[in-house]
Amino acid sequence: MLYHLSEYLVQAFEAAGPLRLVRYISFRTIVAMLTSFLITLLIGRTVINFLYRRKIRDVVRDYSVMSVESKKGTPTMGGILMILAILASIALWGNFRSPFLYYLLFAMFWFAAVGGIDDYFKIRNQNSDAGLSRKAKYLSQISYGLIFGFFFLYSGTTPLPHPTKQSGCRVKTWKSKECDKPCKTNADCATNTCGVTGAVCMQGRCAPPAACSADAQSKACRSDEACIASCGSGAYCPKHWEYPVPGNKVLVFRPSQLYIPFYKFPLMDLSWLYIFVIVFMIVYAANAVNFADGLDGLATGPTLFSYLVFGIYAYFLGNMLTARYLWYPFLPGAGETAVFCGAVVGALVGFLWFNTYPAEIFMGDTGSITLGGILGTVMVLLKQEFLFFLLGGVFLAELLSVAVQDWLGIQVLGRRIFYRAPIHHTFQHRGLSEPKIVVRFWIVSAMLALLSLAALKIR
């Protein structure tokens, strides 16, 4: 709301000029983060008390025999706290003209409903096995994946560029040797710039005309003439959404292309089969966070780092200059995802305030499935799905250990392969205390986050 209000004020009153700041994604990301953090702190205590009084916890049946070491009775469903904070923050700072925002909000509501129902049944029956059946959980996640995948891939509704959408103006012959020559001033580039007039000197090298580098290149063009008018003689209006890659080539971008980290080019175009990748990643992400949610703050930390890294990716990919500089396909509007990630990160930090060992509140499936589901949506929207196997290495370890232990070990071989699964229970069994394990998992995921940021450049 503040975004749209300031937009109106800037247009209407000259005095409101400084409010232009609100337009910038970097600014909105940071204030969204702070806002959701402050909201969690402010309403946290109230929510905890509310949940406790509504008996959203394990009820202690007999106080005269209760354990003095366990945390039994801690209120759960703390995901509600985060969801409220994210909603409020996005309501204030979100750009509701961006399709990305609607995709993310849809994901949030869907998974919050699934997780909420699951928690509700568990609490009503005071039995952690009484929630939604495994089948129902997977079914809900798969159906979300199918719905989301359809809208994501269908040319009429995809938020990403699509071959059917026209891209901005391009400069035809910008060969490195001839055009990309060293320069000191714009005058050095005026001559012999591969037939382009008005080339400029940027960072010691000739670059296409500035006018072309900004608006004209990011907004869909109408005709070659219009492009020549704004960019100079070498410009044209391409038929497809193209983006430059090294070697003076351009590639046509499609939402169904498969990208992997540390490699610049798309592996292949899966077309409609890509929907299976989407479904898999959604189910994987939702369950990954769900499984990791076993110790105080264990899910919160790695999730926070994941959102942080994806937020940074979203910012870079949604900005034409940085996307082009890093040889990524520019995804106009994707910057809005960064604002959303910022709001989630703020809410997670605020939640950690209460959730860190010893926890005063658990996120429950309401939190873990929702956070995982949104995370899955974010990485598909940014086309960085496979980065999550590196970035979320902690989640991978948790899921793999459960799969190997339960399926291979207990079902087939009739033996344990790990002492306990998920893997954090193995560490507990080996005698590590809970806070020690949690902080070590945070450290590992922070290092993986750094590696993942490096993947931004190292390709």
Binding site: Y63, G409, V412, L413, R415, R430, G431
Partner: protein, 665 residues
């Protein structure tokens, strides 16, 4: 009147076919011009029986339920059943029967599913009558029984599973009853005053009965008055060839010429009613069909129920008769043979049971009278009434009746896992001896299973039920080093008796609490086991038996090796065991290396073991006091103390104390 058309389906085994035939025979007697069609699966029992009795047969494709796990056989099941349903739809559309009579078994699945489909789409006028023979309805009848126009069950108790069903009884063919004994004996060439024992395991035959009977023969035939008639059955599968196996076994025992004359062996007994009439005592399986036939004919029966059937229905059938004083029951036991663990009944056990019964004419007579109470001669007529009423649309709806309830836990209805958790929670108290006998029998069934998951349940039950006579089996399991399949070994498996089984077997050794040289040998094997949980359990077992073990250098050396195990869980148990066993202060050397071990749980174990050693006077207190300083004391594990909860606990306990101190006015 229009000629009525009846469609019969059900089968797979004779147990499902004969009831359908019995119903059809009676229908044909009442309506001589009615048409019949039998629908079955090629290669199953119905293929031979139905045409022989004059019923035309058509085939559909179907297959037994392979279990809900995703597998190739599940796919094949879906495919075959799908084809079968389509075939069945065509048959129903073509033949347009007035009524379907389904007697269960997967053979009847295509017709019944097709009928349900057509009925839901209102494309058929056909009525369906389903009959369930066993106490515990089969999977298909549980489903179809709820949708059929009328469902008949043989026992009132079955209505616990199918409340909408009507208890109509079990249809027995009319010819069964009333064959005079003298005529039957004359036809079969048996002396009039002989004591005749009839033994058979259904149309297919039963390995347990065949083998036990042959083993019992030398003892039985010593009595010159006893004649034995043996129906071995037609089963000829790679796993068990009834006739050949029996012949081989017969060759191993020595019988005199005269004794051989008194033993007659047949592949199958036809007509069975003659044999029934001639027999003084019958040994048979506990299927509802056999039992009802015996009851209607008023025979003295010794029942050997088959283990591991759905709901254990044979055992429950048999026990119902036993409770009424109408039959004797002999259970199978798991025994170690060169075919692995299989279910057997010992020859001597059977021989003495039979000899005892045949010698007690009074008891036989009482049994014969008692079993007649269980035979319901009206059943067939009642069932055929229902079918005819259905076909003419004159069947009255059933009034609602209360569903029978059972009191106390019904062990027969519990799964293996259910039994384990029930016994784990409630222990052995309040379980009557008869139930214990049954549970032992269940355990034996599990122990002889091919699936390790099932065997594992059996092992656990041995401990929970305190079956001391199974100690040898447990030791056998622990010594069994048959390797697992190559694929399993590649993935990290080791032996056929998987890690969990071996681990649990050691727990059972502790529960049984018996120490003998064999247990010692097995324990030594356990220390060398490739699976860590087994090694650590072996160490725990050693501690458990520490008094009996005493001063055993071999065990001490093995435990010393365990202390250095690469697996911390095992090393920990090894160190703790060392605290119990070490006799010399030289254990210091081994323990000293662990004072600064990175895993504090090993250091903790060292401290515990040292305490134990000082208490036992092995280590000198002064010497240990010197060592203390060398310990790495920092640890990354701790147990939290929540002070608020402690005080709360205190308050709550105080509340109770005060409440108890002041008696209510």
């Amino acid at each position: 009147m229009e000629k009525r058309r009846y469609l019969l389906t059900g089968g797979g085994t004779g147990g499902h076919v004969y009831p359908a035939i019995a119903i059809a025979d009676e229908l044909r007697r009442r309506e001589p011009d009615a048409e019949f069609l039998y629908v079955g699966v090629k290669g199953k029992a119905e293929e031979k029986i139905a045409p022989k009795r004059g019923y035309p047969i058509r085939f559909v494709s179907s297959e037994g339920w392979p279990g809900a796990r995703p597998s190739l056989s599940l796919l094949r099941f879906a495919w075959r059943l799908g084809i079968g349903v389509i075939q069945a739809i065509l048959i129903l559309r073509q033949y347009k029967p007035h009524a379907i009579i389904a007697t269960g078994g997967y053979v009847s699945a295509p017709i019944m599913l097709a009928w349900v489909l057509l009925r839901k789409l209102r494309l058929t006028q056909t009525k369906a009558f389903v009959h369930e023979q066993n106490l515990m309805p089969g999977r298909l009848n549980l489903l179809i029984g709820k949708l059929a126009d009328r469902t008949g069950v043989s026992f009132e108790e079955s209505r616990r599973y199918l409340p909408q069903a009507e208890a109509v009884g079990y249809p027995v063919r009319k010819e069964m009853v009333g064959v005079p004994r003298e005529e039957a004996r004359k036809r079969l060439g048996l002396p009039e005053d002989a004591r005749v024992l009839l033994a058979f395991g259904g149309s297919q035959g039963a390995r347990t009965i065949n083998r036990a009977l042959v083993d019992a023969l030398p003892q039985l035939l010593q009595d010159p008055n006893i004649w034995v008639i043996h129906g071995v059955g037609r089963l000829d599968s790679p796993l068990y060839r009834a006739e050949k196996d029996t012949q081989d076994r017969l060759a191993q025992i020595s019988l005199t010429e005269e004794q051989r004359k008194r033993y007659q062996m047949f592949a199958y007994l036809d007509p069975i009613e003659d044999y029934y009439a001639a027999a003084d005592l019958v040994i048979g399986r506990g299927g509802a069909g056999t039992l009802t036939e015996m009851a209607v004919c008023g025979l003295a029966a010794l029942i050997i129920p088959k283990a591991n059937l759905p709901g254990d229905h044979q055992v429950r059938n048999a026990r119902a008769l036993q409770d009424g004083g109408a039959a004797e029951v002999v259970y199978e036991h798991a025994q170690r043979t060169n075919e692995g663990l299989i279910d057997v009944v010992a020859g001597e056990e059977l021989a003495s049971a039979v000899a005892h019964l045949l010698g007690d004419t009074e008891r036989l007579k009482k049994m014969r009278e008692a079993i007649l109470n269980f035979g319901d001669v009206e059943a067939l007529g009642r069932i055929v009434d229902r079918v005819q009423q259905l076909a003419t649309g004159r069947l009255e709806p059933l009034p609602s009746r209360p569903v029978p309830k059972s009191d106390g836990p019904v062990f027969a209805e519990m799964t293996g896992g259910g039994l384990v958790s029930y016994l784990g929670r409630h222990g052995l108290k309040d379980i009557p001896a008869r139930e214990l006998e049954y549970l032992t029998y269940r355990t034996d069934g599990y122990l002889s299973s091919d699936a390790w998951q099932t065997r594992n349940v059996g092992v656990k039950l041995v401990g929970l039920l305190q079956l001391h006579d199974h100690l040898e089996l447990i030791l056998y399991i622990l010594q069994d080093k048959t390797p697992a399949s190559r694929l399993h070994r590649l993935l990290g498996g080791d032996y056929r008796q998987v890690g969990f089984i071996r681990r649990n077997a050691f727990q059972v050794l502790r529960q049984l609490n018996v120490w003998n040289p064999q247990v010692r040998e097995t324990l030594l094997l356990g220390f060398e086991d490739p699976y860590f949980e087994v090694r650590s359990n072996a160490a725990q077992t050693a501690i458990f038996f520490s008094e009996q073990i005493g001063d055993d250098p071999e065990i001490l050396a093995a435990i010393r090796k365990l202390m250095m195990d690469r697996d911390f869980e095992v090393a920990r148990e090894g160190i703790l065991a060392m605290g119990h066993f070490a006799k010399n202060p030289d254990v210091y050397e081994a323990m000293r290396a662990l004072y600064t071990h990175p895993n504090w749980r090993l250091r903790e174990a060292v401290v515990l073991a040292m305490t134990r050693l000082v208490e036992r006077g092995v280590l000198a207190p002064e010497k240990v006091a010197e060592e203390l300083d060398q310990f790495l004391l920092t640890s990354i594990g701790f147990a939290p103390r929540f002070h608020l909860r402690e005080k709360m606990l205190h308050l709550s306990q105080t509340l109770q104390k005060v409440k108890n101190a002041v008696p209510p006015q």
